[in-house]
């Protein structure tokens, strides 16, 4: 009896102290994701910490910021950063191109499946394959120049990858060709999910193609556009290694025309036997990527808040 009464008191207390549904579910969620989160934290955390430690050492000795000073004053690293920055200019091009293609596909309907696959195909092709094929196409006597000459556009035939003045632009064209499909699919998926009534109302009000998509589609899928933009910005800053490595045979040439920060890190670590300099450069790159991610989350939060306010 005594036991029963104490049990009932405990139950009563328990009922009174029962957390809210939201609180319990977030604790439960934490519990379930904890194992995976710990593994991820260990893998990434360990790597980040060990790179950070290595960036302050030389030959086992603590050297303070010496490695950072060497890297940041290295004209080659600055050139590489500049090229990453220039590649960022491809992001708006990608967004405009992906948006235009997405709304065109949305309006086309007929054969959309085929066009969608055709546009998405480059995105799933392995980068080395793409880079090798374009490396051949862009040779001075390659397929592109043969075509241009055959249609009387001799003046447009260039040494696309051999001329340091245009090599980076050529490389970014390959990146755009490959990456645009990802944006098209993302945006198209979002556009299809939008309520059809809005478009019908716009049409009844007499809105044309561009008016409809710039005033309805664009704001409606803004989050997706921002997400795509940030993903591509991160790609341009820290994910173009494969393109550059294969298309320039690991040199970042001609001259240093296509040198990017990832290649600089790779060469420092594995060709120049300077892992400490590679680590210092990696820390710079990590910070740059982090800035982009923070910017993305801020913009996204503001955009969501804006949507709710509206």
């Amino acid at each position: 009896m005594k036991l029963a009464s104490s049990k009932s008191v405990a139950a009563d207390v328990h009922i009174r102290q029962r957390p809210t549904l939201a609180g319990r579910s977030s604790r439960e969620a934490l519990f379930w994701i904890a194992p995976a989160a710990l593994v991820i934290l260990f893998i990434f955390g360990y790597s980040v910490v060990s790179v950070l430690i290595q960036s302050f050492r030389y030959d086992g000795d603590w050297v303070g910021f010496e490695n950072f000073a060497i890297v940041i004053t290295d004209p080659l690293f600055l050139t590489a950063l500049k090229h990453n920055g220039l590649l960022l200019l491809a992001v708006p091009v990608l967004i405009v191109l992906a948006f235009t293609l997405a709304i065109t596909l949305f309006e086309t309907r007929a054969g959309m499946r085929f066009y969608r696959s055709a546009i998405f195909l480059p995105y799933v092709l392995p980068i080395p394959v793409v880079a090798v094929v374009f490396g051949q196409i862009y040779q001075l006597h390659g397929a592109l120049n043969i075509f241009l000459k055959s249609v009387g556009l001799d003046s447009l035939a260039k040494d696309w990858l051999g001329d340091p003045q245009i090599a980076l632009g050529t490389m970014s064209s390959v990146i755009i060709w490959k990456e645009v499909g990802f944006g098209v699919i993302l945006m198209l998926a979002h556009i299809i999910s939008l309520p059809n009534e809005t478009y019908e109302a716009a049409r009844i009000d007499g809105a044309g193609f561009w008016r409809t998509h710039l005033s309805i589609t664009r704001p409606a899928i803004l989050n997706t556009i921002i997400f795509y933009g940030v993903i591509e910005a991160i790609t341009m800053v820290s994910w173009v290694f494969n393109y550059v490595y294969v298309m320039s045979n690991g040199l970042g040439g001609p001259g240093n025309a296509t040198m990017v920060s990832e290649l600089y890190i790779y060469r420092s670590a594995f060709q120049n036997k300077a892992p400490e300099l590679a680590a210092a450069a990696a820390v710079f790159l990590f910070i740059a990527t982090l800035v982009l991610m923070i910017a993305f989350f801020r913009i996204q939060r503001r955009s969501i808040a804006g949507t709710f306010n509206r």
Binding site: P164, N249, L251, N272
Partner: protein, 449 residues
Amino acid sequence: MRSKKIFAIGAVALSLLLGACSSSTDNASESETTEEAAFPTEDLTLNISWWGEQEAPGAQKWLEESMALYSKEHPNVTIKHVLQTTDGLIPSFEAAAAAQSGPDIQYFWGGIYSQQPGWDGHIAPISDYLSEDELSHYINAKVESGFQGKVWTAPWYVNPSFPLLVRKDILADNGLAVPTNWDELMKVCDALSAKKITTIAGGVKDGWFGGWIYSILGAQSVQSQADVINAVVGTTKFTDPEHATWWTKLEESKNRKCWNDDINSLELYQAQQKFVDGKAAMTITAGPDAPNFVKKAGGDEKVTIMAMPAWSDGPLAGKMGTTSQTLGITKWSKYPQVAADFIKFTHTTERLNAWYAATGSMPADDRFDISQVQSASTKALFESALNGAPYLENFIPAQLDADAVFKNVQLVLKGSVKAADAAADMQAVMERLRKSDRKLVDNFTAWAK
């Protein structure tokens, strides 16, 4: 008292003598142990990471044959090999070194490429496992792989570096003779470019050809490899005439349209095909592959092999460079003595002859009998390599090669920079390298001694 003194001196002398004797006996037995240590009887596997099929086709067949023959002699030894790509050879070794795990035997190019892993502590000196007498037969062992009395790696085959292959038939068809000096070569370029024929086929997209050009043009104005090491450590500069004039010669060759117009968008091996196809009068190729190119292009009647025509009267001008591609034993190998024994096995007379038969190139061993070589051009190539000039690219830091030489050769051949700017950039990169590689000066200074 005096007798005591004499006794004491005698005792000390005797003990010193005995000590010396015992020490020499120990040394002798130690030397025996290193070379003839008790051969492991347990089952073991040796892994070889190598490169070379690219420049000496047939090398893989020979290597696999050698592995099989060795395993037949030593049934407890299994040998496996991985052929690396040109761009992957160094990075894959660096990754293995970082993990302190990987191949037992690693392929290295000569000079700095075999020195650096030794300085980094990633390989054990081959001289710890092979006798001095054995190593004395290995061509270029001491010049390129020697470091303060030790030898890091064992030369495998010779790379005459780098011969100019000339198609006599194309020159004759155009009323031209084989050039014997730089001025004559420039005149050939003028004559052939006027007829829209490429004089020299090359490709610098992958960079390596830039290093070759540096070595065959740059060597002509230095006295020896010591001059280059002086510029590396900062005693002299890469802008000094002895180190910089070759850039003007390269620029001149570009201005005289000696090269194929797509040299910047082609890799070296792609470009060399133009020579085989009869679309270029000359090309430069790896020495081990030169005999194959001669065959492919029509044999000795049509092709001649020569050193780059001289543009100066320096002691190395007009001489073929020579380097040996080598094999080293990694520091983490559990069976270094077995690895060394296998390397020694590849230098037996039968294996040396088999190498020549399989690849047509020259094994790096002076016990190889050159009289068996039938082709006149190949024989001349081998002889020139035996008395060749040091191969300069192997005496500069690899990073200087990639960051300054490869880069500026591309830019000069594109017409984007002038010779003087290229030399200045090379000097700037070198100065920067001395700051970032904080052991470089010490290592190169020690190497030069």
